[in-house]
């Protein structure tokens, strides 16, 4: 869980910084980049605790698998080597899981029986085993870490909103993205607040004001697409209208994203 003191400074700074999107999203993105960069540069020890967690989760989720293993050079310099040890361990886990499945299928294939015979049973058992292998027994460790920090930051934010000074700052800010706003509203009743109704009202009021301003901005932007207004220039805000709306509706890229592992089954 995020440290409360560090977290409140971090949150306060994020709300003071002028940015286009949600301040909590910028903290999420910063942490995600830092975690994946560390993994890419330093990798994991073969038998370390982290590796055990990675294996338990059957590797990272789709997003973090790609983030961790993407190699190559960037403008900032070397982009790291990915985490070959993580990849090797997960490939080995999958291959080790497939070997007995193949043996079972080959044994059953040699004994054709009418109807739902041994072959069909072996196939059903193989599918169950494959689902178990791919889903793992835990969620992606990067997702889990990000989520725990995010919940900690929201709890701190709620406590900070109970104070007059930060409440004023928040009221003048561009509010949060909808996913973070909903997360905050879900935590509000469990938070140790002096004035729950006051914080609730502040969050709601600020979010509505933000949505109203984005709505207006999008309307102005759409007007400029029409023939009658084709010669009118675009303000910077209007040019960024879709981006601002995107960041409000969905948050930063990857926020709360937990892909399914297969088309038919959700991830852990």
């Amino acid at each position: 869980m995020a440290d409360v003191t560090t977290s409140s400074t971090e949150i306060s700074d994020a709300f003071r910084e002028p940015s286009q999107g949600c301040p909590l999203c910028s903290l999420w993105a910063r942490e995600e980049a830092s975690v994946t960069e560390d993994l890419k540069r330093e990798g994991e020890r073969e038998n370390g605790e982290s590796m055990k967690r990675i294996l338990k989760a059957s590797g990272f989720c789709n997003r973090h698998t790609h983030a961790v293993h993407k190699t190559g050079s960037t403008a900032d310099g070397d982009n790291g080597l990915g985490c070959p040890a993580c990849a090797r361990a997960v490939v080995r886990k999958f291959a080790d899981g497939l070997a007995p499945i193949l043996t079972n299928l080959q044994t059953a294939k040699g004994r054709p029986e009418p109807g739902r015979g041994k072959g069909e049973e072996a196939l059903a058992a193989s599918i169950r085993e494959l689902e178990r292998i791919i889903s793992g027994d835990a969620m992606c460790p990067v997702c889990q870490g990000l989520l725990e920090s995010d919940m900690g930051r929201i709890a701190t934010l709620l406590r900070m909103l109970d104070g007059k000074e930060f409440a004023e700052l928040y009221g003048k800010s561009g509010a949060m993205c909808m996913p973070h706003f909903v997360s905050a509203m879900k935590q509000i009743l469990g938070a140790p607040l002096k004035d729950v109704a006051g914080v609730w009202n502040l969050l709601m009021r600020t979010e509505i004001t933000n949505l109203e301003s984005i709505d207006r901005l999008l309307n102005q932007r759409m007007k400029k697409y029409s023939w009658d207004y084709r010669n009118e220039g675009l303000s910077q805000d209007e040019a960024n209208a879709q981006r601002t709306a995107m960041l409000t509706i969905a948050g930063v890229e990857g926020l709360y994203c937990r892909p399914r592992k297969t088309s038919l089954r959700p991830a852990k």
Binding site: G59, N62, R63, T65, H69, T71, L81, C83, P84, A87, R88, V91, R92, A95, L98, L102, L105, Q106, A108, K109, G119, E120, L123, S126, I127, L130, I134, L147, M178, P179, V182, S183, K186, A197, W200, M204, E207, I208, L211, E212, I214, D215, L218, N219, Y225, A241, Q242, A245, I249, A250, E253, G254, Y256, C257, R258, P259, K261, T262, S263, L264
Partner: protein, 257 residues
């Protein structure tokens, strides 16, 4: 002999291209086409389609971002459709929030009413989280995800039928490749196909094992490209099956387990 039909042509083409998992190659191609589809003026001006987008509370996180990138990198003209979807969604959010705030104000102003479900400000606050979550999740999945999942399932089924033909099965055994998620998805769909299921299952598992061993060897040899190849093999192409709601409910549930 595999018949050349509109459903088998894309798979045969992907197989010939030999660019990793053939279903991932088609998934990416489909994602690009879906972006073009939703940004098409004829589609974005269709109120019924826009209603579906609003019912899903906009597109999912990934497709909100990918679509924005494609529109504003010049991949697709011109951003009007995006603005319309966003405006409809923002308006829906705003209206819902205003309704909740009005209910809260009323509960503060009026005296205790036995007939009202939400009698006190606290009761309004208690009910808000659930309502907000339902609003953010919407009643449908992202329209782009829906199209892509349907197409992906159709292609997986076609591939399984093609593997029932000896000529294609032999070619697939020699050089076929599926990422692990597409391999498991194909296995999950196998019981519904009218092919020699044991033979196809054995072929799929043998091929997957060969691919995994190949990636394992590349990783052992080192080299910059091998972790990236492993990523494609382990998780599929970037964004594969990223069918997620925007709300964190499913995540917090997991954490509490």
């Amino acid at each position: 002999m595999v018949h050349i039909t509109p459903s088998t042509i894309p798979l045969l083409e992907a197989f010939e291209r030999d660019q990793g998992c053939l279903l991932c190659y088609l998934w990416l191609k489909d994602e690009f086409q879906s972006m073009g589809f939703v940004e098409d003026n004829e589609v974005s001006m269709d109120e019924a389609f826009r209603r579906d987008v609003v019912a899903a509370a906009g597109f999912c996180n990934r497709h909100m971002h990918v679509l924005h990138r494609m529109v504003f990198s010049g991949g697709i003209p011109d951003g009007l459709g995006y603005a319309m979807y966003a405006e409809d969604t923002v308006e829906m959010f705003r209206e819902k929030l205003q309704t909740m705030q009005s209910a809260f104000q009323e509960s503060r102003n009026r005296s205790w009413n036995v007939l009202s479900k939400e009698r006190t400000p606290r009761a309004v606050i208690e009910s808000t989280a659930e309502k907000l979550e339902a609003t953010l999740e919407g009643t449908r999945i992202c329209e782009i995800c829906r199209r892509m999942l349907l197409a992906d399932a159709r292609r997986a089924r076609t591939l399984l039928d093609m593997l029932g033909h000896q000529d294609f099965a032999a070619r697939f055994a020699a050089s076929g490749r599926l990422c692990f998620p597409h391999f498991v998805t194909s296995m999950q769909m196998l019981p519904t196909r009218r092919v020699n299921r044991q033979a196809v299952a054995t072929l799929l598992v043998e091929t997957e094992l060969r691919c995994l061993e190949g990636v394992g060897q590349l990783l052992a040899q080192g080299g910059r490209a091998s972790p990236e190849m492993a990523a494609m093999m382990l998780a599929g192409v970037e964004g594969l099956y990223c069918v997620t709601k925007k709300s964190p409910s499913h995540l917090t549930g997991d954490l509490r387990q």
